[in-house]
């Protein structure tokens, strides 16, 4: 019985120590998951924003080029300008990875 009282604190301390390790690893996993979600959102929302912006710009650019084919280069610049949103998304993505 005396031995049991000697061993029990050791076992309790050990279990607390193991529990702390497990909690620490669980917190790490949550952080990694949240970062992954954040990175995904940064890239995904940037791409969605680009798509939303390029829709009307593309339609208008197609109209302009239909009347004035020589304006193609200028319209292309306007069309690709919203791509910067994806680039910002990429930056966020790599920072969060």
């Amino acid at each position: 019985m005396k031995n049991l009282f000697k061993v029990l604190p050791i076992l309790l301390l050990a279990s607390v120590a193991f529990a702390q390790d497990a909690a620490a690893s669980a917190t790490d996993a949550t952080a990694v998951g949240l970062r992954a979600i954040g990175a995904g959102l940064a890239l995904g929302l940037g791409a969605v924003g680009t798509g939303l912006a390029q829709g009307p710009i593309g339609a208008a650019a197609a109209g302009v080029v239909a009347e004035r084919p020589e304006k193609f280069g200028q319209m292309l610049i306007w069309f690709v300008l919203p791509e910067t949103l994806v680039i910002f998304g990429f930056v966020g993505f790599f920072l969060l990875r």
């Binding site: 829709g55 339609a59 208008a60 109209g63």
Partner: protein, 326 residues
């Protein structure tokens, strides 16, 4: 999700960029004679349509035909690029030319003008086919004119038929009936808030002009055009009765103009401004098309006027004064 006007307005903006800048109109107005005027016009995108107008023995008839051809081509091009709901809205905007043409026909028939004279005053745009307008121009009275237009005269032809059947006989009765039918048709077809706002403005302006015209006669609400925003039926009757006040300061200028001609000039400037505003605020609506049609109409009217001025050697000051009224 995609707005069809994004594409259409992109094209229309380019068409608008092809309109002659004020500098070119100024050069044409400053031309020393008719030949120089033709030369200055032939240096513009209109040269494709000038055709016989530049021939040695060509006169005003050839110039009118050339300008009409250019106008018609522009309108047909505009119609070809719109499909679906925008096409219906563009057709509704083109009803304006049907109203103008039918009014010209009614005036011509009532005044007993020849079909050639009437045809010279018609605008080669709108939804009524040209052969139908030609047939209508040879009508001998308003009843037969209405009969001709009832078959293939579109919505406005039907309005004229209904007005004649309803007993409208005077020019004012017929013109107001045409306006009422036109604005009813337009407001039923046009969806965009900005364009509708423009038309409510136009209705207000038209009501004020009619009210001014009615002064001195027994004012009646059958000449009132419903659909406006600032000028109610009671305002209309009050102004027709001699009162000179209206809530909107810009519209007030129409009432303060010394005579009807000046009032019409103020009204035109007001609607030009409203049209420019709607083109800027209605990037994804029919406002850009509306503004383009208005500007194209003015361009052709100015070129026609300058052509006449140069052909008959009108003094430069007179011509400038006439141009300011367009």
């Amino acid at each position: 999700m995609t707005n069809a006007y994004g594409y259409i307005n992109g094209r229309v903006r380019m068409l608008r960029a092809d309109l002659l800048p004020g500098r070119v109109i100024e050069d044409a107005a400053n031309a020393a004679n008719y030949a120089e005027y033709l030369r200055s016009v032939s240096e513009t995108p209109l040269r494709e349509d000038l055709g016989e107008a530049t021939a040695q023995e060509a006169g005003l008839a050839e110039l009118d035909a050339a300008l009409s051809h250019n106008y018609l081509r522009s309108v047909q091009h505009l119609r070809s690029i719109a499909v679906g709901q925008p096409a219906r809205e563009v057709e509704a905007l083109l009803l304006r030319y049907d109203v103008l043409n039918i009014k010209t026909l009614v005036r011509g028939v009532l005044a007993g003008r020849s079909s050639e004279e009437i045809l010279a005053g018609l605008v080669p745009a709108g939804t009524i086919p040209w052969p139908v307008l030609q047939a209508a121009a040879s009508a001998t009275d308003v009843a037969s004119l209405a009969q001709t237009l009832a078959v293939a005269g579109g919505k406005i032809g039907g309005v004229l038929r209904a007005a004649v059947s309803g007993g409208a006989g005077s020019l004012l009765d017929l013109e107001v009936a045409l306006d009422q039918g036109y604005y009813r048709a337009v407001l039923a077809s046009v969806r965009g808030v900005n364009v509708r706002r423009y038309f409510t403005r136009e209705i207000d302006v038209r009501n004020l002009l009619i009210a001014r015209q009615l002064r001195g006669t027994a004012a009646t609400n059958r000449y009132f055009i419903p659909g406006g925003r600032e000028v109610s039926e009671s305002d209309f009757l009050r102004i027709a009765g001699g009162d000179n006040t209206v809530g909107d300061p810009q519209l007030q200028a129409i009432l303060e103009a010394p005579d009807l001609a000046s009032a019409e000039f103020v009204a035109r400037r007001l609607l030009d401004e409203a049209s420019r505003n709607v083109a800027m605020s209605d990037a994804l609506g029919a406002g850009v098309v509306l503004d383009y049609l208005r500007r194209k109409e003015q361009e052709i009217a100015k070129l026609r006027l300058i052509g006449r001025g140069k052909y008959y050697n009108l003094p430069a000051d007179e011509l400038r004064k006439e141009l300011a009224d367009v």
